[in-house]
Structures are given as C-alpha cells and as structure tokens.
Symmetry: C2
Subunit: 141 residues, 2 copies
DNA sequence: TTCAATTCCTACTGTTTTAGTCTGAATTAA
DNA sequence: TTAATTCAGACTAAAACAGTAGGAATTGAA
C-alpha cells in the first residue's frame, strides 16, 4: 500500500471540487484557502489528476478545474492511484535482490500480504467521492 | 497505516518460529538462513518482539528464541505493531502545524481515513500466526 | 576451563521517499 | 494590458527506511 499526504490532499481537493461543482470551475487558490494546502503543491497534484482524466482544466483568469465525472462515479481508489502510484503491498524486494526471487516457492507470508492488498483496494473501490460529500454519513457498507 | 520490511520480516520470522516450535529454541542464525534476512537486522527486530512479550529468549550457545504463546493466540496485528509502531492512518499533520487543528470541525475526509484504519486493523486482528502456518489455506474469513 | 555460539545493546550510515518550494512560462477573462 | 490562473519541471531539506558495525554478556559443550 501507499498512502501519503499527496493522496490525502488529492481526495480532499476532489471532495472540495465536488462540493462546489455547480459554481463553475474551481481555482486551486480557492481550494488552497479552504483546505489549507499549499497552492504550489496542489498544482503538482492536479497535473496528475488531469493526466488521469479525473478533472478537466480551464485556463486563464476565472479558470480552474472541473470534475470529469459526477461524484458518484469517481472511486477513491482512482484518485489515490492517480497521485500516489502503486497501491501494492507486495513490493517486498523490488524483484532483483534477495527475497522471493531465487526461491521458486513463495514465502509463507505471501498470501497474507496479497490478501491485505485486496482488502484495502476493495475498500477504496467501494467508496465514491459522493459518499464523502454526503457528510456525516457512515461509510460502512 | 505503516507497514515496512521490518514488519514483514517480523511476521516471517514469527512464522518460522511457529514452524519449528517443537524443536527447542530457534536461533536467529537459522531464521536468517531460512528466510534470507540479515542476522543483524533480525536481532534488532527480535529485541522489540521480546520487549512486547511475543517471544522469550534463551541466551548462550544452543540458545535462541521461543514463542511466548501458541500460534493460534498470536495476532498478526500484535507482531506488526511491536516492530513498526503506529498502525494509524490519521497522522495527517502531526498535531501542531496546519491541518485539522485550528478548524474546530473535522475535515470532510476524516471519516474516510478513520474507517480505513479500522478496516486494516480488523484484518490484522482476525489473522493469527496459526493461519499462516497452516499453509495453502485461504485467509478469508 | 576454554571457546564458540548465541543474545543483547546502541550507535552509525547510505539511500530513498516525502513533502513540499521555486521559477518561470503560457493562457485568457476582464 | 493586466491580473488570475493553469502548466511544467527542476530543485531541496528533512525524515524515514533498511540495514551495518562493533562490541559486551551469557552459557552449553569440548
Ligand atoms: S514470496 Fe514472499 S518475498 Fe516473494 S513476493 Fe511473495 S511475500 Fe514477497
Ligand atoms: S480532520 Fe482532517 S486533517 Fe484533521 S485528523 Fe481528521 S482527516 Fe486529518
């Protein structure tokens, strides 16, 4: 797994976007102020979100970003994997060096990490942006 | 959350211990060879496991480590939290600086991280060392 | 009694990752 | 024309990670 502030900020920012989605493009400046996240950092993050087609940009004054899809179609997993890369437990040894590689059999804990991985991914797959915006609501399903 | 090689190694080593638990104390040298983990690193890890009373040590020649409890009583969560410290999603901003602190209301994503946290912890709570040793078995419950 | 195998303890270190910052360009509404 | 904005990429300080290194203490066995 991998979950850093970038991922958290991305989710916060996307939620913010969802909240104000009827008011035209939302500028990063606004998000920066509302969510208390550095503007420059947000810019970095939004480039990635844009590349993954989660948002659409409107350049120039009065510009900003707009969600590509409606909040109930955007999975949290999409957001996080867009900015944080791999959501994998099984990095173990980066292939090359020691570890599972030379031994042909998987080590005894392999299944464990694999299942945890699925577990976490399932979680993020189930939760949609919409669920965050519909506040006070329990995310349990 | 927090899961590093230390945590993984710890689980592997404990599983190894469980496998050979009937053969008296298991030395770290043995584990090192079988699991392909640096001896010095294992030592570091086992100090922690010992401090958390997960294993008992036998010093001197023919010494080694022994599980404190039977494998079906040892939760994976115990092992990981013993060596990796906090298993928390909600580190956000280390209290002091920007973030949730000054705002009295929780930010919109708070629940999300909180629930993920519980989700992961539940997972590790349910799986016991025993489950790893009983190989090829599915961990799903 | 000696020695080799072991745990114990603590400090150190190289590398990678994280969490940003900084600079400057391109675009466009007003 | 200008101010607000996105776009792009290089840079960096600090922290975390993944181990090493060196030596002391203990003890079973030769
Ligand atoms: S076999 Fe073990 S070391 Fe290899 S990928 Fe699986 S868990 Fe990681
Ligand atoms: S309110 Fe937001 S910033 Fe504060 S702890 Fe919760 S998730 Fe983190």
């Amino acid at each position: 797994m991998k979950l850093t502030t970038r991922g958290r900020y991305a989710v916060m920012a996307m939620a913010d976007l969802a909240l104000f989605k009827d008011k035209g493009p939302t500028s990063l400046t606004d998000i920066s102020l509302r969510q208390n996240i550095s503007l420059a950092y947000l810019e970095q993050i939004f480039i990635k979100l844009k590349n993954k087609n989660l948002v659409r940009s409107v350049r120039g004054a009065k510009g900003g970003y707009v969600l590509q899809n409606s909040p109930d179609e955007i999975k949290i997993s999409n957001i996080i994997s867009a900015v944080d890369e791999e959501i994998k437990m099984l990095n173990c040894k980066k292939e090359s060096k020691k570890g599972c590689n030379n031994k042909s059999t998987k080590c005894i804990t392999h299944n464990l990490w694999d299942q945890l991985d699925q577990h976490i991914n399932n979680f993020f797959e189930k939760v949609k942006l919409e669920d965050l915006v519909r506040k006070n609501q329990t995310l349990n399903k």
